[in-house]
């Protein structure tokens, strides 16, 4: 019986084992160029954030004391405590030095340190968005791969149709629909899930019952978000895999006698992955920004809704802190994606 001989794999995945010192140096140079670019973006974001919110109409001190009999000198006192009385240049320098020291200031609306306000909602946001991004990536990729590999089959047509239909629906509408069907119950079917919130009042989050309770509260919002964004991954993966499928090296691999599934998994998919990797990391970067419509429908305490509420005052320190977090998330995710390309595709990754 002849063993299946796997010669040096065709296609660009993997790199030649003899990477000399020159190649390694140019790798490092490339990586540091990318990192430098990310830092530059971050610096720009820091400056831009400050001026962006000053454009919003309204004086926070006035808006927070609207329609109450607050003595005028107390309003002035409030404005001074917000630091709004100083010239813009001083405010900007204060903001820069504070942020670089990790002090994000005190929220006008909550009167608590901004870092506390954000920390309270950080994990719920990451939990919800992280799990649903993961699920929609995995399921979407599977649909896309299977659809492309069996192009024209019933599975392909039905799955593409359904995922597009779900993508086209407004997600808050889908959310309310799911609440009516699964949370309240229709006809003889009982509602199994809560209508909103993250945890039932009185249940200790750190206990086993608490974890199960949070999981139960998470089912419907995660389901809504997953269903709404499946199509993104399915379609991108499907089209890039279709591009790859015509390549010669796949015909060669099949001719050698490789199982269909192996051809798909070991050759076609890795090479078709690059556009999907871009998409996945882009969306991972947005995980911290929350999903404001889903948070509203399910009353989930997330950062998306927090940033919307902060716009009402407008609560400058909270907005600055929240947007800084969002920007850092996106920049870091993009940097990770850039660096990952260097590993996945040896054509990239050298400066």
């Amino acid at each position: 019986m002849t063993a299946v001989v796997e010669t040096a794999q065709p296609g660009p995945v993997g790199e030649p084992s003899s990477a000399g010192p020159a190649r390694r140096r140019s790798r490092w140079r490339w990586a540091s160029l990318k990192a430098g670019g990310a830092l530059g973006s971050l610096a720009f974001v820091l400056v831009f954030n400050f001026f962006l919110f000053r454009v919003l109409p309204g004086d926070p001190a006035k808006n927070l004391t609207r329609n109450r009999l607050v003595p005028a000198d107390q309003v002035a006192e409030l404005r001074k405590s917000f630091g709004l009385g100083k010239p813009l240049r001083d405010q900007f320098l204060d903001y820069l030095s504070n942020t670089l020291h990790g002090n994000l200031g005190i929220s006008y609306v909550f009167r608590q340190p901004v870092s506390t306000v954000i920390a309270e909602r950080f994990w719920p946001t990451v939990l919800l968005l992280g799990v649903s991004t993961l699920l929609s990536t995995v399921i979407g990729l599977w649909i896309g791969i299977k659809g492309a590999w069996n192009r024209g089959s019933a599975f392909d047509k039905v799955s593409t149709g359904i995922s597009l239909a779900l993508y086209a629906m407004p997600e808050f509408w889908l959310g309310i629909l799911l609440i009516i069907i699964f949370a309240v119950g229709i006809g003889p079917f009982p509602g199994l899930f809560p209508t909103g919130g993250m945890i039932s009042p009185g249940v200790n989050a750190a206990s086993v019952a608490g974890v199960l309770d949070i999981a139960r509260h998470m089912v419907l919002p995660t389901l809504t978000l997953t269903l709404a964004y499946l199509a993104e991954y399915a379609l991108v993966m499907r089209s890039s895999l279709l591009d790859e499928m015509g390549s010669d090296y796949l015909t060669t691999a099949r001719a050698k006698g490789l199982r269909d599934a192996l051809v798909l998994r070991r050759h076609a998919v890795p090479n078709a992955m690059l556009p999907t990797v871009t998409l996945v990391f882009l969306n991972l970067g947005f995980v911290v920004s929350g999903a404001i419509t889903i948070e509203t429908v399910y009353s989930w305490p997330g950062l998306g809704l927090l940033s919307y509420e902060a716009l009402q005052a407008p609560d400058y320190p909270l907005l600055q802190g929240v947007f800084l977090l969002f920007s850092v998330g996106v920049i870091v995710a993009n940097l990770a994606a850039d660096l990952l390309y260097g590993v996945l595709d040896p054509r990239v990754g050298h400066a």
Binding site: G58, A183, G202, N204, A206, V211
Partner: protein, 632 residues
């Protein structure tokens, strides 16, 4: 063999992935427990039945000096006491921490006799010294005056000669002394927090109060839990716990009421209220309310020293034009179409819910009369022009800007109706929708003609009347304009005199008469065109709860009152009554309001999930075998 080795490796990877996924769920839950805003409650708190209220607005701070939203005031009212309360029937003063009070003949010295034997929730006795400390703190520090400044404005000294007597001296007679809505705070706790620290003191741990409820927990953005105080001097509440659950979405909140997850909803919109009609086990309440909406008019924007500001249309300075606008509006249509009949037509600025102080116009009533409106406009010198728009003495067509609020659908609807009616009498209206923040600025600067907004009026009329005084117009400092409370820029010396008089009249009957005269001045001079008084629409699960208390009695709201009457008296429907009234359609459990269950549902779900995962995994393993030749 090579093949089986690959299969084993893949199996192991799957297990690893499952463990990682489980850890991802557990870790944030543990982190969340740490970052929750106070100590988590003990796992089994079965102090008694739990009354759950659904809300859309969260508390903004548990610190009575910092928070400003209505929900915060509602919660503080349950945890802290005041000297006097608002009576359930008609808001007249009733004993609170003070059992009786008296005034000196010149009206400048008030003596309050405090209840004895009251204890703070940490066991320390409550005395008049705590009350004196609270008032003195507010008088001394300007930050504490943000919420309570108007109560101490006339106080010159507050002393406690003994544990149950409080003496307050004022500079003028002050009717507000009957309704000092200041939470009495424990000196032994708050004296440790200085005037700088109080601005960021969260007050969300070990809160010490004397009220009918004690604070358990506030999970920001999700819920607030309060436990009944069995030793309350006014009698222990009949519930064990009151929970406020925060929803960000009215529809979801109504679904939660239908399902039975919550017991009470306040401030429903008219169409959601109508959608609940006929629902099993739910009672709808159409409560009279102290709120009104108006079409505001720019009476001639100027600063408090009389310097004109802004760019209001000069036509509105003419009282005849403002009255014409009042006659041109069909208020009954607005009540029927905009708030679906849940309200009544508007007249004067103190709503009829305050029966003793509401001024009801009779012969001077400005009803819907377009003919009269046209006559008044002619009289004012605005003759009808060729294109159906009136032309003023300056030769320009009469065009007014109308600013509706982005945050309110009702506001935009009213704007459309008013535009149509004013067109009928020859006034051209241009509607712009803007955010409330921006509208506040625009009004303060006097850069408007007409707008739509509303007020909620407190039992004491002083605040609402102050809005029309000359002194509450904007102030100008260099080039900065700071808005006051006035959104009409109404300024009339007769009115100011009446306002000053009611401020120092303590006798209720005399004061009511002066208040009504003041309202008449505002009404006759048409500072506003009040559109309607709206009702407070509430719904609750009457299959589970009974004995809720309205204020005023009868016909008023059940919660968000000036008092805690419902929270202290609501009790579960007895089991016998429940089984008699339960119907097959209701999905909620009629007799067990302590529901924290769902663990059985969870178990079912986990079982289903496990079957799906295992089944899916087995299915995938079997399908794996297909090779290239199988396909072809």
């Amino acid at each position: 063999m090579q093949m089986s080795r690959n299969v084993l490796r893949r199996g192991r990877t799957r297990v690893v992935a499952a463990v990682v996924a489980a850890a991802t769920v557990l870790a944030p839950a543990a982190a969340m427990a740490d970052s929750s805003s106070s100590t988590p409650a003990p796992a089994a708190s079965s102090a008694g039945p739990v009354f759950t209220v659904g809300l859309t607005n969260d508390v903004d701070s548990m610190n009575p000096f910092v928070g400003i939203v209505a929900t915060s005031f509602e919660v503080w009212g349950m945890i802290y006491d005041t000297l006097t309360g608002y009576g359930q029937k008609d808001y007249s003063p009733v004993p609170g921490l003070a059992t009786s009070w008296s005034t000196s003949p010149d009206g400048l010295t008030w003596t309050f006799h405090l209840r004895s034997g009251v204890k703070w929730s940490d066991g320390v006795p409550l005395t008049a010294h705590d009350a004196a400390y609270t008032f003195n703190r507010i008088m001394k520090n300007s930050f504490e005056q943000t919420n309570y400044g108007n109560y101490v404005a006339n106080m010159t000294s507050v002393t406690a000669p003994d544990d149950t007597t409080l003496i307050i001296k004022t500079s003028k007679p002050s009717p507000i002394m009957l309704h000092l809505a200041v939470p009495i705070l424990p000196e032994h706790i708050w004296s440790k927090i200085d005037e700088k620290a109080v601005q960021t003191f969260p007050n969300n741990k070990d809160v010490v109060g004397s009220g009918p409820f004690t604070f358990i927990q506030w999970q920001v953005g999700q819920f607030i839990r309060l436990k009944a105080n069995p030793d309350y001097w006014g009698g222990a509440p009949k519930v064990g716990e009151v929970d406020f659950r925060i929803f960000k979405n009215d529809d979801a909140m109504v679904q939660a009421l239908r399902k039975g997850e919550i017991d009470f909803i306040d401030n429903l919109s008219a169409n959601l209220y109508d959608s609940l009609k006929g629902a099993q086990g739910i009672t709808l309440v159409d409560a009279k309310y102290a709120g009104f909406e108006e079409v505001g008019m720019n009476n001639g924007a100027a600063t408090d020293t009389g310097t004109p500001i802004g760019n209001g249309n000069p036509a509105l300075k003419n009282v005849l034009v403002r009255k014409a606008i009042n006659y041109a509006i069909d208020r009954q249509t607005l009540v029927d179409k905009v708030i679906r009949g849940y309200g009544s037509v508007g007249t004067s600025v103190i709503p009829p819910i305050y029966a003793d102080q509401h001024y009801q116009p009779t012969t001077d009533l400005m009803g819907y009369d377009p003919t009269k409106a046209k006559a008044l406009l002619d009289q004012a010198g605005y003759k009808m022009g060729p294109s159906g728009v009136r032309v003023g003495p300056d030769g320009k067509p009469l065009t007014l800007r109308f600013f509706a609020r982005q945050e309110s659908q009702d506001s935009q609807q009213v704007a459309q109706f008013v535009k149509g009616w004013l067109k009928d009498v020859g006034i051209n209206v241009v509607i712009t929708v803007m955010a409330e923040n921006r509208l506040t600025d625009v009004i303060g600067n006097g850069e408007y003609d007409l707008f739509e907004w509303g007020w909620v009026v407190e039992p004491d009329p002083d605040f609402q009347l102050s809005v029309f005084t000359c002194g509450q117009r904007s102030t100008k400092d260099g080039s900065t304009i700071t808005a006051g409370l006035s959104d009409s820029f109404f300024c009339d010396p007769t009115y100011d005199k009446l306002y000053a008089e009611q401020q120092v009249t303590v006798d209720p009957a005399q004061r009511d008469a002066i208040v009504k005269s003041a309202e008449k001045v505002v009404y006759d001079k048409a500072a506003y065109a009040l559109t309607y008084y709206y009702d407070d629409l509430e719904a609750y699960r009457s299959d589970r709860w009974t004995n809720l208390q309205p204020q005023p009695d009868p016909g008023g709201s059940l919660i968000f009152q000036y008092g805690t009457y419902t929270y202290r008296n609501v009790e579960p429907v007895s089991v016998a009554q429940a089984s008699a009234s339960a119907t097959p359609g209701s999905t909620g459990v009629a007799s067990a309001p302590t529901s924290r269950s769902g663990s059985s549902a969870t178990a079912v779900l986990l079982g289903v999930l496990a079957v799906l995962v295992l089944g899916g995994g087995a299915f995938a393993l079997i399908r794996r075998r297909g090779s290239a030749d199988d396909r072809e």
